[in-house]
Amino acid sequence: RFRHFQVSRRQISSTVRRQLVNKVPDKQKLFQESNGMPVHLKGGVGDAVLYRATMGLTVLGTAYVIYELVKAALPQKKD
C-alpha cells in the first residue's frame, strides 16, 4: 500500500514534464505482421502516399531531364 502511494506521487510530479511512452513494441508488432507487404509500404497509408509522390517525381523528372538534355544537344536555329 505504501509503495502504491510512492508510485502515485512519482506519477503526479512527472506529468509536469511530458513523458514519452515506449512505442517500440507496438512498432515491432506492426512491422512483423505477416501481410506480405514490403518494408517500404508496411507502415500504412502514409507510406503509400509518400511512395507515390516520390515515384511520380522520379518519372516526371526523368522525362524532364531527357527533354532538357535533348534540347541542349540540338543546335539552336539562328535567323
Binding site: 514519452l20 515506449n22 512505442k23 517500440v24 512498432k27 515491432q28 506492426l30 512491422f31 512483423q32 505477416s34 514490403p38 518494408v39 517500404h40 508496411k42 507502415g43 509518400l50 511512395y51 509522390a53 516520390t54 515515384m55 517525381l57 522520379t58 516526371l60 523528372g61 526523368t62 524532364y64 531531364v65 532538357e68 538534355l69 541542349a72
Partner: protein, 261 residues
C-alpha cells in the same frame, strides 16, 4: 510463412536505389542546365528527390533493424565494415584537398610573390575564432563519448542530455564558421589561397552539418527508445563519423590555419 535458415538479411525489393539514381542524374544534369541556361528547376527537383530517397531509405533500415530484428550480429558486422569503408573513402576525399594545399603552399610560385600566404592575403588569426572552433569540436568529442557510455549503461536521461549537448556544440561550430566566412578579408576568388582555404574548410563544414544531422536523428531515436544498452549501432556509426569530422578539422587547423599563416 517460410523462415530463413541463416542469420543474414535478404532485403525486401525497394524502389529507393532507383529514385536515388534518378535524383543523382537530375542533380548533375540540373547543375549543367543551371550553368548554361540559368534555370534551377531541374537541380531543385533532383535535390527534393534526393531528400525523399534518403528519408525513406533510412526509415526502412530503422524498420528492418529496430522493428523487424534483421540486424543480427553478422549483419551488424557488415554494417560496421560498411561504415568504416565509407569513412575511409571520405578520408581519401579530404586527402586530395590537403594535397592541393601543400602542393601550392610548399613551393609558392612567383605569381604569388614566392611566399605563403601569398602577397596581399591577410590570413585569419589562428588563435582567435579558429582556436575556439578547435575547442568546440574537441569538447563535442568528449560529449559524444559521454553519450555513448550513457547509452551502454542504460542512463537514458544522461544519454539524451549529452547527445543534445554534442549537437549544440556542432551547431555552435557551424555558426562560428559561417560568421568567419562572412567576415573573412579574402574570398574563394583570391587565387590559390582562396581556393584551397574555402574548398577544404567548406567541405569540412558540410560534413559538420551532415554529422550534426546524423546525431540529431540518433537523439530522436534515443528519445523514442530505439537504442538498447547492447545494440545501438546507428549511434556508434554517427559517433565514428563525428570523430572523423573532428580529426579532419584538427588537420585543417594545423595545416591551413596555423602553418599556413
Amino acid at each position: 510463412m517460410a523462415h530463413q535458415a541463416h542469420a543474414y538479411h535478404m532485403v525486401d525489393p525497394s524502389p529507393w536505389p532507383l529514385t536515388g539514381a534518378i535524383a543523382a542524374l537530375l542533380m548533375t544534369s540540373g547543375l549543367a542546365i543551371w550553368f548554361h541556361f540559368h534555370s534551377t528547376t531541374l537541380m531543385t527537383l533532383g535535390l527534393i528527390l534526393l531528400l525523399l530517397t534518403m528519408y525513406q531509405w533510412w526509415r526502412d533500415i530503422i524498420r528492418e533493424g529496430t522493428f523487424q530484428g534483421h540486424h543480427t550480429p553478422p549483419v551488424q558486422k557488415g554494417l560496421r565494415y560498411g561504415m568504416i569503408l565509407f569513412i575511409t573513402s571520405e578520408v581519401f576525399f579530404f586527402l586530395g584537398f590537403f594535397w592541393a594545399f601543400y602542393h601550392s603552399s610548399l613551393a609558392p610560385t612567383p605569381e604569388l610573390g614566392g611566399c605563403w600566404p601569398p602577397t596581399g592575403i591577410t590570413p585569419l588569426d589562428p588563435f582567435e575564432v579558429p582556436l575556439l572552433n578547435t575547442a568546440v569540436l574537441l569538447a563535442s568529442g568528449v560529449t559524444v563519448t559521454w553519450a555513448h557510455h550513457s547509452i551502454m549503461e542504460g542512463e537514458r536521461k544522461q544519454a539524451i542530455q549529452s547527445l543534445a549537448l554534442t549537437i549544440l556544440l556542432g551547431l555552435y561550430f557551424t555558426a562560428l564558421q559561417a560568421m568567419e566566412y562572412y567576415e573573412a578579408p579574402f574570398t574563394i576568388a583570391d587565387g590559390v589561397y582562396g581556393s584551397t582555404f574555402f574548398v577544404a574548410t567548406g567541405f569540412h563544414g558540410l560534413h559538420v552539418i551532415i554529422g550534426s544531422t546524423f546525431l540529431a536523428v540518433c537523439l530522436l531515436r534515443q528519445i523514442q527508445y530505439h537504442f538498447t544498452s547492447e545494440h545501438h549501432f546507428g549511434f556508434e556509426a554517427a559517433a565514428w563519423y563525428w570523430h572523423f569530422v573532428d580529426v579532419v578539422w584538427l588537420f585543417l587547423y594545423v595545416s591551413i590555419y596555423w602553418w599556413g599563416s
